[in-house]
């Protein structure tokens, strides 16, 4: 069964007098454990697609089934719950809460979900160790390097053990070397079974995914399954 099933999705924005079809007649199916890169020029609907997949946005028409369940008709609170339990976000600009420490940022989804502090601390300690951030637990985001920040963000995205990770230009604000590290991390997560959807401009990064979706004007231009060409880069 497909993890994600989009049927006839339409998303329309009203910009002044003109109507923009951010997504038009989109049909897409992604299986659990896939590694998908979404590419395309600016304004092609990549981000809208990602927002939709993340239940941050609703389609004007069409259905979105996540794990076989129609999530477009859920109430906002039910959608919040799905986001909390099934979806992890990684953003281009990290989106860490500046006043919270690395550990607190990682714990934030669990705090919001009402998980007791004891369990939180145990899981955060594990995550810090897993992402090589043990010495950065009490640092605030402004005391961390870009790569460390994104590692904190990825730790946060995975702390609730989601089925799906949505990454929006995860390396966009990083230099090539740290970007490479971050991609390796995400790919390792994918290898452990988490479905990974990455929106990117970077052809090289997109090429590493086993499936590439290219979008144009709100439509799928191409959907190709390729095995990643391993290049000795970085």
């Amino acid at each position: 069964m497909a993890l994600i099933e989009l049927t006839n999705i339409e998303r329309v924005f009203q910009l002044g007098d003109s109507t923009v079809h951010a997504l038009a007649a989109l049909n897409l199916s992604i299986n659990a454990g896939e590694y998908v890169a979404v590419m395309g020029p600016s304004g092609s609907g990549k981000s809208t697609l990602l927002n939709l997949l993340g239940l941050l946005d609703r389609p004007n028409s069409g259905t979105y089934r996540l794990e076989g369940r129609d999530v477009t008709t859920l109430s906002p609170d039910e959608q919040a719950r799905v986001r909390s339990e099934r979806i992890g976000f990684v953003f281009q600009s990290f989106h860490l809460v500046p006043r919270l420490t690395a550990a607190e940022n990682i714990a934030l989804p669990m705090t919001l979900a009402g998980i007791p502090a004891k369990e939180r601390n145990a899981r955060v300690a594990k995550a810090l160790a897993g992402f090589g951030l043990e010495n950065r637990a009490d640092h605030r985001p402004d005391q961390l390097s870009g790569g460390q920040r994104q590692r904190v963000a990825i730790a946060r995205a995975t702390i609730m053990q989601p089925a799906l990770i949505l990454a929006d230009e995860p390396t966009g604000n990083l230099d090539r070397h740290t970007g490479e590290e971050v991609v390796n991390l995400l790919e390792a997560l994918n290898a452990s079974g988490v479905t990974l959807v990455v929106v990117t401009h970077d052809q090289a990064m997109g090429a590493r995914a086993r499936r590439q979706l290219v979008m144009e004007d709100g439509r799928l231009k191409s959907d190709s399954h390729v095995s990643p060409p391993f290049q000795g880069e970085g």
Binding site: N51, G54, L56, D57, P76, D77, A80, R81, R83, S84, E85, F89, F91, S93, H95, V97, P98, R99, L100, L108, P109, T111, L112, A113, G114, P116, A117, R156, M160
Partner: protein, 402 residues
């Protein structure tokens, strides 16, 4: 989100923006401090006046010549234009009243006093031996007026502390002869200094027998008759008996006014109580202003933290969680403001008491409770709108603002 986590989150959010947190806490605390200090002033004034008025005597009933009360239209007043004066005999007749324990007629005027070449203007009170105990005066030296026939003007005087100091300096005053107007009087006693009281300054007063005062001022009328009832409960009865006796003596006309100390006290109490309430009302406006400021600060916070709110939503926060977090922050700001304001207010009241020891500037409990709860309620109430706005933000739009 768990309650403890919500509170911690709100606290961190508040301390994360020290400037705006300090400002709103300051506004709230000034509001609460204003309520505390202003009501302390108002209530202090009430207590001061009531205290001063109580100190003029206990269970007093005061008789004034003339019908100045608001007892309604009396046909007798329409015919007799000038009311009868009060006389010493009137006062003597009041001794028959069973509810009266003691009484003192009072005639007043101003005159000159001289001793050893020094001369000054004084207020002269003509009364009897019971005047001093009724008015709760105390003697520093010597004794009071002699307890003899009221119509006999023995040439003696009891003088106030200031007069003693000015006329005699360090010399003993008791037993000396002073000249008051055209009379020579022997000083028999000196009053203890009381400072400025209501009505007259007893430190600059000379008390002489009532008949002597009347002779000096060439009149046979009284300014007041001070009547002391046997007990607090006997005050209305004493008032009635006094009225009845004087009515009989004045051919059935109620041409005197009888006021009770209780009634006057109650009036002052009410009047100054209302003043305190009014002042508290004005101060409450500053609380409302502080509440609006907290609202503005929270609205700014929502705008400043739009990105964060979007993030929280992406991480699975429900609208309720976000609402509660912002509401908790507003509540925290106003609570801290209220507590700081309360302490500032108490400090201010303490300062006032230090600066003016006679002035009992204690904020009344009701004002403190009302001030604190108004602060909390306005803080919460004005926190609702920003919290709802935060909860309603569109996550996609919010995330883009990061």
């Amino acid at each position: 989100m768990r309650l403890a986590d919500t509170l911690r989150f709100a606290r961190d959010a508040a301390t994360g923006y020290p400037m705006r947190t300090t400002l709103s806490v300051l506004a709230m605390s000034i509001g609460v401090a204003a309520v505390v200090i202003l009501t302390a002033l108002g209530d202090g004034a009430r207590r001061y006046v009531v205290g001063q008025f109580s100190s003029i005597g206990t269970n007093l009933v005061i008789v004034l010549p003339g019908r100045s009360g608001t007892g309604g239209f009396n046909p007798a007043n329409a015919i007799t234009t000038t009311p009868r004066d009060l006389t010493i005999d009137d006062a003597g007749a009041l001794r028959r009243a069973s509810a009266v324990s003691r009484l003192a007629p009072l005639a007043v005027g101003t005159s000159e006093v001289s001793f050893g070449g020094r001369l000054r203007e004084v207020m002269v009170a003509g009364s009897t031996s019971e005047f001093i105990p009724i008015r709760n005066f105390e003697l520093a030296q010597g004794q009071g007026l002699p307890d003899d026939d009221w119509n006999r003007g023995t040439p003696v005087a009891v003088i106030g502390a200031t007069i003693r100091d000015e006329m005699f300096g360090s010399e003993p005053a008791v037993g000396k002869l002073i000249r008051v107007g055209d009379r020579r009087l022997r000083v028999v006693g000196v009053l203890k200094s009381l400072g400025q009281g209501l009505g007259m300054n007893t430190d600059e007063l000379i008390i002489v027998p009532v008949a002597l005062a009347q002779a000096m001022f060439n009149s046979n009328t009284l300014f007041r008759i001070l009547v002391e009832a046997k007990s607090r409960e006997a005050i209305p009865e004493a008032k009635e008996q006094v009225m009845e006796i004087l009515k009989q003596r004045h051919r059935g006309e109620e041409d005197v006014t009888v006021i009770t100390q209780d009634a006057v006290l109650a009036t002052f109490d009410k009047l100054l109580g209302a003043l305190t309430l009014g002042v508290a009302g004005i101060a409450a406006i500053s609380l409302a202003v502080a509440g609006i400021l907290v609202m503005n600060v929270m609205l700014v916070a929502v705008t400043q933290r739009t990105g964060e709110i979007g993030l929280l939503k992406a991480l699975g926060a429900t609208a309720r969680t976000i609402r509660l977090a912002f509401l908790a922050e507003a509540a925290m700001l106003s609570t801290v403001g209220a507590v700081v304001g309360y302490l500032l207010g108490q400090l201010g009241a303490f300062g006032l008491r230090q600066a003016f020891p006679v002035f009992p500037a204690y904020p009344p409990d009701w004002a403190v409770i009302a001030g604190l709860s108004t602060a909390l309620i306005t803080g919460l109430l004005f926190g609702v709108m920003p919290a709802r706005r935060a909860a309603r933000l569109d996550p996609v739009q919010a995330l883009m603002k990061h």
